[in-house]
Amino acid sequence: MLLPPSMANAAIRKPRPKYLNLAALLFEIRLPLAGWVSILHRVSGALLFFAVLWLLFLLDRSLSSAAGFESVKRYLGVPLVKVSLLVLIWAYCHHFFAGVRFLALDLHKGVDKDTARITGIVAIVAGLAATALLGARIW
């Protein structure tokens, strides 16, 4: 069988089959930008699913009485709690912006490679910027 030189070289240099292991997943296989937007959308969504329990607890307490409201306020002042809240704020913001991007993609808007790359960067940056903004507001 005749292969073009480039393919023949690649076949020699890269041992096949390639077995996946944790090291390969972490250091060798690089996700493209759109892949990062996507996996972070999934991770943030999963995180928010579990977080609803905590958020409902906070809403319940804060609406129960004036004393409950004040206790939630104090509780949210604890540094570790604040950091947790900030992580959830990021999860919500990233999920929001990446989600809007996916909705646009579903409508065949921005599907070409260059635009998709730009909107991917925008989604990640907007999520982080909104987190910083809301973080400054709660701090």
Partner: protein
Amino acid sequence: MVKRIVVGAHYGLRDWLAQRITAVIMAIYTVIAGAVLLPGPPLSFAVWRDLFAQGWMRVATLLFAVSVAWHMWVGVRDILMDYVRPDGARLALQVLVLVTIAAYLGWTIQILWR
């Protein structure tokens, strides 16, 4: 012939579309809530309670919560379908997720209409 399994997707547009429609509802609620709450002064209990005492706010929040519940079900189910292969484990986890979401929703209604 597609091999249909009970814990698979429902082989249609419905769930996919529901996830998109609920996403739009949640986005609208998020933008409005953000615009109302963010520029204002730090919240007091009176303002917070009065906000949730209004009928439209309760209904809007319930609509948001139902959207979250439905959206979450499709999303978490997708994750389980991707990573949990044995049918029994997948079904068990799906039931657990559904029960959890139902409990979330019940609690939300309880909080809103106290």
